[in-house]
Symmetry: C2
Subunit: 414 residues, 2 copies
């Protein structure tokens, strides 16, 4: 079944060739003092509600003895209730005892759903461009991954429908709101068609929604599960996370799925890690119960709105027709395209030399041949408005240097 590596080990197929992360390989440059990084997928550190989290933790500390033991695999009952309420605010009704489970984040939710449904010989569909770690979670199931083209309007549902007809997937995963990397949001019509497709072809349609609450402009559009009616509900799952609204280090997320699927995800989680930390779960539940969550999210929204605005203005004013982009209405990312004959991979070493870093679009495609080489992902979440302006000025200068054929000493692994 598997070949031996040089060292003599015989790894499972997906692990035979270790996959380097093109995004992580940028970290040494992004972390240089003085460099302005628009490369990270991180939320803003300075916006973390340290006081609120410490206050919740202090309350939980007073009852710590009661949350140190082994606990329910599917999560603390109080937290499940709070998460069901949050989901209801987004338009999703669910039974917190039979349809919702606490997980270690969206990543784990997707990994669990993939694990219970997919095996070698099965097909699954993801968006391209898309978040590499989501692809990785499904790749490790051994299933064959196909990609549906996506872009500034989200996944192309016509192309997806043809692909579904051809490969008969068991799972299709999308980010419907403020996607990573495109910052795209699917309109209501595309959402309805996706849900219909799922029910008709009987695949599980998974909506990963880490960014939905970070809308600072326009009207919210209901999540896919909120649009599913009757039998359609059997074919739609919703996964979400506290990483962008509270903090990534909580490692806290949830999934909502039909009972039969959820139950198996809980069995898979038992074998994977027994449960998520009840201590952290209690802190998160306390934080929401204290009203801190609903106070805090608007603060993030306001800050990101100002940053998105600063980015859009800087791009327009500094780079003009040299880039094409759409102003984000939420989330953390702007997908910008260079309009000239220099692509974003060629530009990158110059950008690094000019102390600004982004992620070339290529990093978000499983198949480099399909990649939009002109595109780049710019995160506006972690830099303040002045830094964003400076970053874009530097980007313009880098583009000039590159166009002028100046030499560069930087070599970026791609």
């Amino acid at each position: 079944m598997s070949s031996h590596s040089v060292s003599g080990y015989s790894f499972a197929a997906p692990f035979q060739i270790p996959a380097p992360s093109p995004i992580r390989s940028l970290a040494p440059y992004a972390n240089r003092p003085g460099t302005i990084s628009m490369a990270g997928g991180y939320p803003a550190t300075e916006l973390f509600d340290v006081d609120g989290l410490n206050a919740a933790a202090a309350k939980v500390g007073g009852r710590l003895a009661s949350c140190l033991q082994y606990s329910n695999i599917d999560g603390q009952a109080g937290l499940r209730m709070q998460l069901a309420r949050l989901s209801a605010e987004r338009g999703i009704r669910c039974d917190p005892d039979t349809e919702l489970a606490v997980t270690g984040g969206s990543q784990q939710s997707l990994a669990l759903l993939g694990r219970v449904l997919l095996q070698p010989g099965d097909a699954a569909i993801i968006e391209s461009p898309g978040f590499p770690n989501s692809r990785q979670a499904l790749h490790y199931t051994g299933a064959t991954l196909h990609t549906a083209p996506s872009g500034p309007d989200g996944v192309d549902v016509d192309a997806l429908a043809l692909l579904v007809e051809r490969v008969r997937p068991k799972l299709v995963s999308v980010v419907a709101t403020f996607s990573n990397p495109c910052g795209a949001t699917l309109n209501l019509e595309r959402r309805r068609r996706l849900v219909e497709l799922a029910a008709r072809y009987r695949f599980l349609l998974v909506e990963d929604d880490p960014y939905g609450e970070l809308r600072f402009e326009g009207e919210p559009i209901p999540p896919l599960l909120a649009l599913a009616e009757g039998e359609q509900r059997k074919w739609v799952a919703y996964i979400a996370s506290m990483s962008k609204t509270m903090a990534p280090a909580l490692r806290m997320g949830w999934l909502i799925a039909p009972d039969e699927i959820r139950r198996r995800c809980v069995s898979a989680k038992a074998a994977d890690d027994m449960a998520s930390s009840a201590w952290i779960q209690e802190i998160v539940a306390q934080y929401i119960e204290d009203g801190r969550y609903h106070e805090h999210v608007p603060r993030i929204r306001a800050a990101y709105a100002a940053r998105a605005d600063a980015l859009a203005r800087a791009l327009a004013e500094e780079m003009g027709s040299q880039v094409d982009f759409r102003k984000p209405q939420g989330g953390m990312f702007c997908w910008a395209r260079l309009t000239g004959d220099i692509d974003s991979t060629r530009l990158l070493p110059y950008a690094i030399e000019h102390e600004v870093v982004y992620v070339p679009g290529k990093a978000f495609y499983g198949d480099p041949a399909q990649a939009d080489l002109q595109a780049m992902r710019l995160s506006f979440a972690t830099m303040n408005e002045a830094q964003i302006r400076t970053g874009i000025v530097r980007l313009r200068q880098a583009l000039q240097a590159c166009a002028a054929g100046e030499p560069t000493t930087i070599t970026v692994p791609t």
Copy 2:
């Protein structure tokens, strides 16, 4: 590849038939007020060092802003250093940067090692009887699991050697010290032979060591990895956990494995859950650094020593020749065998009626046909000495009632 369930879903092979847990099905009885439960695999709740953990958490609270962001997949550098030191005290030298990774507990460590090595068509070997969740973690890889007979002296290395020769496993997992359920400890000679076997047949020998530090009698025997020399080190991994020494709800463990394997486990963890909570990691590191860990473990040892002693005396004095057992030298479990013609499954409803619960030995065998039906696992960790005596008195009365053919109204799912 897979068949459709009644509901229309087509699950991956290991999830087609949901596996009920025979241990979890006892929980409703074990949790009845007034019932004395020796069934749980839980550490003693009243021994948790709530003050020490709160003190560590308060210190980390002062620097919380620095540990809320996304973090290294392989763990916080400070915690890796502390865990390498703990491992060194157990006789294992390792490089905390290339050989050690923080995980969400022993369960996740084993799941990760299994995932990177095993796929359908591969073979792995586990002990029988053994911990069902360990079996489950490896089962979900799709590999074929074989069992090597184990017992009060640990795994039978002769039988294992024959099995290895026949099935050529890629992974063999054992608990070498105070095993679950047998409370067994492998002697030095068996350990050396295991390590030699691993190097000779080139399988990864995984030692799961959640209980090793809970020795209250006799001399410690070095872990398998401490016995591996030169090239042998390539074939031995060590996994351990804070669940029994600090608290299960931390969901904190670690693995030590050769760099090539560890690196792939870290990739697998990235796809599974991105990382363990940096917040909790910092609390654990602070707790160890403050010396609390080394103060606390002896308290657990002393309490468990007294409880093991109480259990051994109660069994001898109350049940005499009706049970066979070996007095535990550490850990949390005593493996006792009924010597008469009543087996532990038949006895269980009577025990429940007499308000005492244990886990029938059968629950720890993958293949019921191999099960030692006379055996039962008695946990001495969670009950005080008086409760233990009462529990064993009740067990004797249950045995009498069962032998007398009295009716019982209890039906336990098996």
